[in-house]
């Protein structure tokens, strides 16, 4: 786990967890966090592959770089850095541009 448990300034906002799926694996997230934060907390850094087969991941965190596009509940091109994780959500790596633009 990569969660910060002890911090001199910050306190954790919530301990309420939600379950979601990454490539059919059940994972735990904290309520109110983005999909990207939840994935990274679970040790997942590779969010997809570019058209040329290069691994892609998180870069800007504020919805500007489009590096974090994933397939969420069947919908491609979701910027997971600014999308909140929800109970039961299914998240998959996006390969290339995906079928839908």
């Amino acid at each position: 786990m990569r969660r910060i448990v002890e911090h001199p300034i910050l306190k954790a906002k919530t301990a309420r967890t939600v379950k979601f799926y990454f490539e059919d694996k059940e994972l735990e997230a904290l309520e109110g966090e983005t999909i990207a934060a939840a994935l990274i907390a679970n040790g997942i850094d590779v969010f997809g592959e570019s058209e040329h087969g290069r691994p892609r991941g998180f870069f800007c965190a504020i919805g500007k770089c489009s590096s974090c596009l994933m397939v969420v509940d069947g919908e491609p091109n979701v910027r997971v850095c600014i999308t909140l994780v929800k109970e039961g959500m299914r998240v998959q790596r996006q390969l290339g541009r995906s079928d839908v633009v």
Partner: protein, 599 residues
């Protein structure tokens, strides 16, 4: 179709301040923001801001965001997770991700406060997961409390690079180095000093050449550059890091402004392409205003003032009240903030749009170190930055920032009572207290401390100097807790050391075992490496680590990873050494010199 008098695009410091001022005069306002929370980049700022009290100096960024949100009144509506997808002649189209639908808005006035995006830089494998913008690392660790790695390389030494490095240390990560392509550090000296005290090396005239790794970052190759920023062959060094953090600057997000027919000009001093605007933050399009980073890359304080100017100007047009005096006061505020040497670039850039003024300030540093033997503050703030909480926080009126907030602070030791408030309030953590001869053979040093764990009274710690180097042992004699988390640690140090000690580290890791069989602690391994044992076999013989019953099965990889972290070599390289003894003996000294000489 919704209607609003003012549409504010972007709920960061500039947008919020614009909305606050306009709504204060009853202007119906709609704030639209892409994020999941209002406050923009403020929500991930855990450090205290510079500036003066009127603009939240010495308040932490996320707290500023909270206070600004509370100042919005019922005239303000907020739509989060919403992107402005188009600005047309008579309508603005929004897309709300959560509801997955678009909205149309008609606004009499628009304030664009869209901020900036992180500049990307070119190096081999820069696409790899694990290469992050500095802001992204901040979002993860300070907004969501997730640390994406253990060991970081920071590229860029502007304020963002320095601040994020410090915040990484606070979150318990390691910063292998900060590389800076220029020959001087870009950010404030006080920020630099904060991280140097923890021993983080800053490599000037260096840049990143390559990210290592297949699926994700496992290391970075750093190279020295010449005066023309060309890499010098043969100077490559490898760092074993799992995140490369890029803090190479910001570019204003001008897309929407351009779409709204605002004239965009290229002004490198303001961050690249920026929209034209006048002193009231009005663009060439009558009803469109801009503020914040979009108007030129600066700091949150100037963004807030710009936002207020824009909000008041809009309110003046809508309500008809004459607000020119308030507006002018804020404009003068900006002049004052921008009078220092750090704003020279911004002034130059802005002079393209309207003439710039500056005000005088004093550059005289304090020379008087105060009466020996009295408990008194020493202010180590030597740069003309717009900041004065030291002055405003002192209950005895002993500190003065003469004339203008860009001046250097001075202290009147006659008036000081030694209460320590200024030490805890200084956002630059640049004030310490000392007292010589507090008891025979000992001096006292008071250190502002924002790390965990806090030491306890009577605990023994290792005192560090301004470069993070160990200088002596020290004893904690008092821990003064402050509600805003900048605590004061009173250290008793051997006489004569009060001039040098500016930080410390705890010894708690004495209980952390590396080798279970021989009971070798992490502390011992690290010390041995610092002594010059840089080879696994040497360490084994010196500490007996890995010589126990388990035959090194438990500890070998741990020792290798500690070695790799300390020496900046990949475990791969060290492992090769283990199977193939060195052909020629190398002095430990030379290896260590290789690691530290370009600091």
């Amino acid at each position: 179709m919704m209607k609003t008098q003012l549409l504010v695009v972007g709920g960061g410091p500039a947008g919020l301040c614009g909305a606050i001022e306009a709504s204060r005069y009853g202007v119906e306002t709609l704030i639209v923001d892409e994020g999941v929370e209002l406050g923009g980049q403020l929500v991930k700022q855990t450090h205290k801001f510079f500036g003066h009290e009127g603009f939240f100096a010495s308040v932490r960024g996320f707290e500023i965001a909270r206070r600004l949100k509370n100042q919005l009144n019922h005239h303000v509506k907020v739509m989060l997770q919403t992107t402005v997808v188009g600005i047309y002649e008579d309508v603005v189209v929004l897309y709300n991700r959560e509801k997955d639908r678009t909205f149309e808005v008609q606004a009499d006035y628009i304030l664009l406060a869209t901020g900036a995006s992180e500049r990307f830089i070119q190096f081999e494998n820069n696409h790899l997961p694990g290469v992050y913008g500095a802001g992204a690392v901040q979002t993860l660790m300070n907004q969501f409390m997730v640390l994406p790695g253990k060991r970081f390389l920071m590229v860029g030494s502007g304020n963002i690079g320095l601040i994020v490095s410090y915040q990484l240390l606070q979150a318990g990560a390691e910063v292998a180095a900060i590389v800076e392509i220029a020959d001087r550090v870009g950010g404030y000296d006080v920020h630099l000093r904060k991280i140097k005290r923890f021993g983080v090396p800053v490599l000037l005239r260096h840049t990143i050449k390559k990210a290592l790794g297949e699926e994700k970052v496992t290391g970075a190759v750093v190279v020295q550059v010449d005066e023309k920023f060309r890499p010098i062959g043969g100077t490559e060094r490898e760092f074993a890091v799992d995140v490369i953090c890029i803090a190479a600057g910001l570019t204003p997000s001008v897309e929407l402004a351009a779409m709204a027919n605002v004239k965009i000009e290229y002004v490198p001093e303001l961050g690249g392409f920026v929209p034209y605007r006048d002193q009231n933050m009005r663009t060439n399009v009558e009803n469109i205003f801009i503020a914040g980073d979009l108007a030129g890359i600066e700091e949150a304080t100037t963004a807030m003032i710009e936002g207020r100017i824009a909000g008041l100007t809009v309110a003046q047009s809508i309500v008809g009240t004459d607000l020119s005096r308030e507006i002018e006061a804020l404009q003068n505020e900006l002049v004052e903030f921008r009078s220092g040497p750090f704003s020279e670039k911004v002034r130059k850039g802005l002079s393209r749009f309207f003439p710039q003024r500056t005000v005088e300030f004093s550059r005289q540093p304090q020379t008087d170190k105060g009466p020996v033997g009295k408990l008194r503050p020493i202010i180590e703030c030597y740069e003309n930055i717009p900041c004065n909480p030291c002055q405003t926080s002192c209950p005895a009126g002993a500190i003065e920032v003469p004339g203008n907030i860009n001046s250097l602070p001075r202290i009147d030791y006659e008036k000081c009572t030694g209460c320590g408030i200024c030490v805890s309030k200084c956002p630059g953590l640049a004030i310490f207290m000392v007292q010589e001869n507090v008891e025979p053979g000992f001096d006292l040093v008071v250190i502002p401390y924002e790390m965990v764990p806090l030491p306890e009274k009577d605990e023994r710690v290792i005192a560090l100097d301004r470069e993070g180097k160990e200088v002596c042992e020290a004893q904690v004699v008092k821990v003064l807790r402050f509600p805003d988390m900048t605590n004061l640690i009173y250290l008793k140090v051997p006489a004569g050391y009060s001039e040098r000690v500016r930080n410390f580290r705890t010894l708690k890791r004495g209980n952390v075992l590396v080798c279970r069989c021989e009971e070798v602690t992490l502390e011992e391994v690290e010390r041995a490496i610092e002594l010059g044992f840089t080879d696994y076999e040497e360490l084994r013989r010196y500490l007996r680590v890995g010589m126990g019953m388990c035959g090194g099965r438990t500890c070998r990889s741990t020792v290798l990873s500690i070695l790799s972290q300390k020496l900046g070599k990949s475990p791969g390289e060290l492992l090769k050494g283990r199977f193939r003894p060195p052909v020629m003996p190398v002095k430990f000294e030379s290896i260590l010199r290789g690691e530290t000489n370009e600091d």
